[in-house]
Amino acid sequence: MKTTLLLTLLTLASIIGASCSGQPFGNNNANTAAGGTISILGSGASFPEPVYEKWMNEYGKLNPNVRIDYQATGSGAGQKAIKENTSDFGASDDPMKDEDLKGTQVIHIPTVLGAVVLTYNLPEVKERLKLSPEAIAGIYLGNIKKWNDPKIRADNAEVNLPDTEISPVYRADSSGTTAVFTDFLSNANSEWKNKIGANKQPSWITGVGAGAKGNDGVMGQVKNIPNSIGYVEIAFAKANDLPTALIKNKSGKFVEASIENVSAAAAGSVKDMPEDLRTRITNAEGENAYPISSYTYILVNKEQPDDVKGKALVDFLWWAVHDGEKFTSDLHYAPLPDEVVKKVEEKLKTITSNGTALRQ
């Protein structure tokens, strides 16, 4: 028995030793202590990750004492992180639902705009396809089975469409991209709205198409399977030189997912933006508005537990929507319209710590 006692003591000693080296932990205020640097952690949507990384890198050069860390864990994870307080800010392409917001004091800060594009693999087709919401909904509902279906042919008279079966590819995981895509189809097509609706991870029709994980998964499948079609975020399509379809918008024009057209969609809907800034801009008004556009959001708590950290976070967001916006277009995001920046300024001014506003 003495052996055990001795070993136990040794063990305990090493545990204590080990956990001391693990100090400090537990309390959030400790984050500001380490060598005068302020550490802020964010997590969530993968769609804006390239631009957020760029921002944090640039902001870090200007403010070396502020370390902002961002991990792309997915929009759902970003919402979960801010609710469970495992991150200082969350990020999501999809605004949080009313029932998820209940009991929280999360506010939504739009940061940039992005677009979802339809990409396809039709080796013999050289022209750019034009797709109407009806055609896209029909493909993903299983009503349109072949590329030379009259509904597709009607908009592509000059294209020699093959008589082959379409293989639609969708996102199998919960994703903000899917939320934007299905929201667009719900707004533009009533059959879609009734059968599937808008969701991060909707119930796809069994037997139609196949799922893939992540933007890269969808892209990989489209690249690999002839006659397939899939939806991805524009940055992915641009980075990989995939063909993208022109989409018919509310005013009946077929438009490209250019930065100007995405901005046009935002501009066309600014007047309808609600007070809490949670909004969807799919199928927006405006002659050149690209219809599958979306804001992406950073989620922050209105009352910050730590004033130093809270101030640093608010300052960073302020910088991001002003100076940061110039980095967006290289990465294929559209900057916020000026009116929205004004609204964001107002929102940021409402963030408090101990009841005091962190930015006047």
Binding site: K2, L7, L10, T11, S14, Q23, P50, N57, Q71, T86
Partner: protein, 268 residues
């Protein structure tokens, strides 16, 4: 005739396995080498297309492995000594059985356990949570190897010492442990190699980080999670970095294995 044919078949199996090993290692070496340079080894991740490196991930992996070893090794060895010296009762059997069970538990479940136990109460992912997950994976492995190694120590050594009037704990401490030490060290090294390659338990516990992090209360980068992120990313540059980071990781793990093999040669 049949014998010769079967020998041909079985040796083909062996050749196949070795071919796979060589194929994997060659791929890692070829794809990895081209992306490795000093900047890659010491820099932190940067926005896509601007270079960057895995220095913080290497540091994070080392820090978490060290802390996990600091916690897991003493507990594992202590448990192993107990099992070998006093574990022949019902309590010992239960512990032994549960240790074996724990070795077989998928490591992702360990990650979920620590997430609920440490991350939620602490309010954030941290290097500490990551290290604890790794320690949990390590404890039963070390405990069982320690037990086996102590049992291999010849009875005569123990009996001789006891006959000379040494108390039981002194026999364990001064006679049995030194005799089993090299075996226990071997087991410990292999356990360290094992945890340094774990990814699943770190996903929800240590998360990842863009910075050099010296404190266990913050999310920490690790080579394995970084490889996972790079491998599933959309850009070719990221894939390249994944191979390079893999080269470092696999190089370290194989080095440990080969070293252990070399040191423990006489046992084989």
């Amino acid at each position: 005739m049949l014998s010769a044919l079967m020998t041909g078949l079985t040796s083909a199996c062996a050749v196949f396995a070795i071919a796979i090993l060589v194929l994997i290692l060659t791929y890692i070496a070829v794809r990895g080498f081209s992306a490795i340079n000093l900047e890659f080894l010491i820099d932190t991740p940067k926005p896509v297309g601007e270079g960057g490196g895995i220095g913080n991930a290497i540091l994070g992996s080392v820090l978490m492995t060290v802390l996990a070893t600091g916690i897991g090794l003493p507990i594992g060895i202590g448990g192993g000594v107990y099992l070998a010296e006093m574990g022949s009762n019902w309590f010992g059997s239960i512990v032994r059985f549960l240790a074996d069970t724990l070795i077989g538990v998928p490591s992702i479940i360990v990650g979920i356990f620590i997430y609920t136990l440490i991350v939620l109460p602490m309010g954030r992912q941290s290097g500490l949570a990551g290290a604890l997950s790794l320690a949990i994976i390590m404890i039963p492995i070390v405990a069982r190897t320690t037990e086996e190694m102590i049992k291999l120590v010849p009875k005569s050594m123990r009996e001789g010492a006891l006959a000379l009037g040494a108390p039981e704990w002194r026999v364990t401490w001064n006679i049995v442990m030194p005799a089993a030490a090299s075996g226990i060290a071997t087991g410990a090294m292999l356990a360290i190699a094992r945890i340094s390659g774990e990814t699943a338990p770190l996903l929800f516990t240590a998360l990842n980080s863009r910075f050099y992090n010296y404190f266990y209360d913050q999310p920490m980068a690790s080579l394995t999670v970084q490889i996972y992120n790079y491998a599933t990313g959309p850009f070719d540059v990221e894939h390249q970095m994944a191979w390079a980071a893999t080269l470092i990781l696999v190089g370290l793990i194989l080095a440990i294995n080969v070293a252990v093999r070399y040191l423990a040669r006489r046992r084989y």
